[in-house]
Amino acid sequence: MMNNPVRGILGFAVIFCIYLISLFSFHYFSIPLPPALIGIFILLIVLLTLRRVPAAITQSARPLLAHMGLFLLPALISVLLYGDLFAKYHAALFIAVLLSTIVSLGITLWLSQRILLGVKGAVRVNTPMASSGQEDDN
């Protein structure tokens, strides 16, 4: 696909408008969902209606997803403001993050293997976005 800056900007404008609509409906209708999730649903409905992903959307979604890490940095840095909370509960946080993640990943792997037994090679997999869009971050 050709990289066309106008198309990329157009795609971003569409995604940004969807986000604004979801922010507005979050406040106006007091929907108990994270605003960005409302946006995901709106974009998903749009894509399902179109039955394809327009090039403009793909082109702007790719850099946004690949560099999501950059947009997360402000939140990560403001954790300095919660330094004493970390110091006070470091043991609990350590156990919850390290041990529980390892145990639950192990259990999930083991169970998934049993659930998916025998479906090997039966599926045609779409990988346009997964391979180039989300290689990194967040």
Binding site: P34, F71, L73, I95, T101, N126
Partner: protein
């Protein structure tokens, strides 16, 4: 017909308030903050690729440490710096909305395998937060921290929004989520061997649903197929958790 415009104006007011810091501050300071953050981010990304993508040296860990150290040494207030980088914070919303694109691309897999892919995602998406919550609950920590733990295995932007709704701390959620992803991706090869999981589908689903995007990039290094299943796990678990938790606790 008379329409009451007050709630509409109030809602727009909230949104404009969120974007406010963009024009109500010193542009020079804002520019320096943005450029410095971007520079640190790009450099740590380079370093990460250069060092064979070791999950322990994740770009976000390095960037956070570097910027944190700078803020500690320099006479800049953390809150002030955060105002300076509001632009990046605001772009997180549209970036999260863009997650609908990979989800849409993986829908055929979901249609073909149905429950067989949904079940592992539900299992992973339930066990991980429950175990984490149990450990902080038993260790007697404040409720805020317990609530924050519940969102630990969904993708960061959704985790922050959800934590905010159920009475957790969004910034703390971001840190816990990233650390969870790094732990998951680091121990994944070893756990895969230990549990003898040879199905790429199972590996992908487990990595995506427990270790979100960091796990997904690990899955991509195993294979394209594994990465595609991880993407599905990441998106579905994120959506299910973000829908359910506020219904239960908000």
């Amino acid at each position: 017909m008379i329409i009451n415009t007050d709630p509409i104006i109030a809602s727009w007011g909230e949104i404009i308030g969120q974007f406010g810091p963009l024009w109500s501050q010193d542009f020079g300071f804002m520019f320096v903050c943005l450029a410095a953050t971007l520079g640190v981010y790009l450099l740590s990304r380079k370093l990460h690729f250069y060092l064979n993508q070791n999950p322990l040296l994740h770009p976000l860990t390095i960037s956070t440490l570097v910027i944190g150290l700078c803020l500690y040494v320099l006479p800049i207030d953390v809150a002030e710096f955060k105002r300076g980088v509001t632009l990046f914070e605001l772009l997180l919303g549209p970036a999260t909305v863009a997650l609908a694109v990979p989800l849409y691309n993986q829908l055929p897999v979901l249609r073909q395998l149905g429950l067989k892919v949904v079940m592992p995602i539900i299992i992973g998406g339930t066990i991980a937060p429950l175990l984490a919550w149990l450990s902080v609950y038993l260790l007697d920590t404040p409720l805020q921290l317990q609530m924050t733990m519940l969102v630990k295995s969904i993708t960061t932007p959704l985790a922050m929004g959800t934590a905010d709704l159920i009475g957790g701390i969004p910034e703390l959620a971001a840190v816990i989520v990233i650390l969870t992803g790094i732990v998951g991706a680091t121990f994944a090869p070893w756990l895969i061997m230990l549990t003898k999981t040879d199905s790429e589908y199972a590996q992908g689903l487990a990595l995506g649903s427990v270790a979100h995007v960091v796990g997904t990039s690990k899955a991509l290094s195993i294979s394209e197929t594994c990465g595609a299943f991880a993407t599905l796990g990441l998106c579905l678990n994120g959506i299910l958790t973000a829908v359910l938790l506020p219904l239960l606790f908000a």
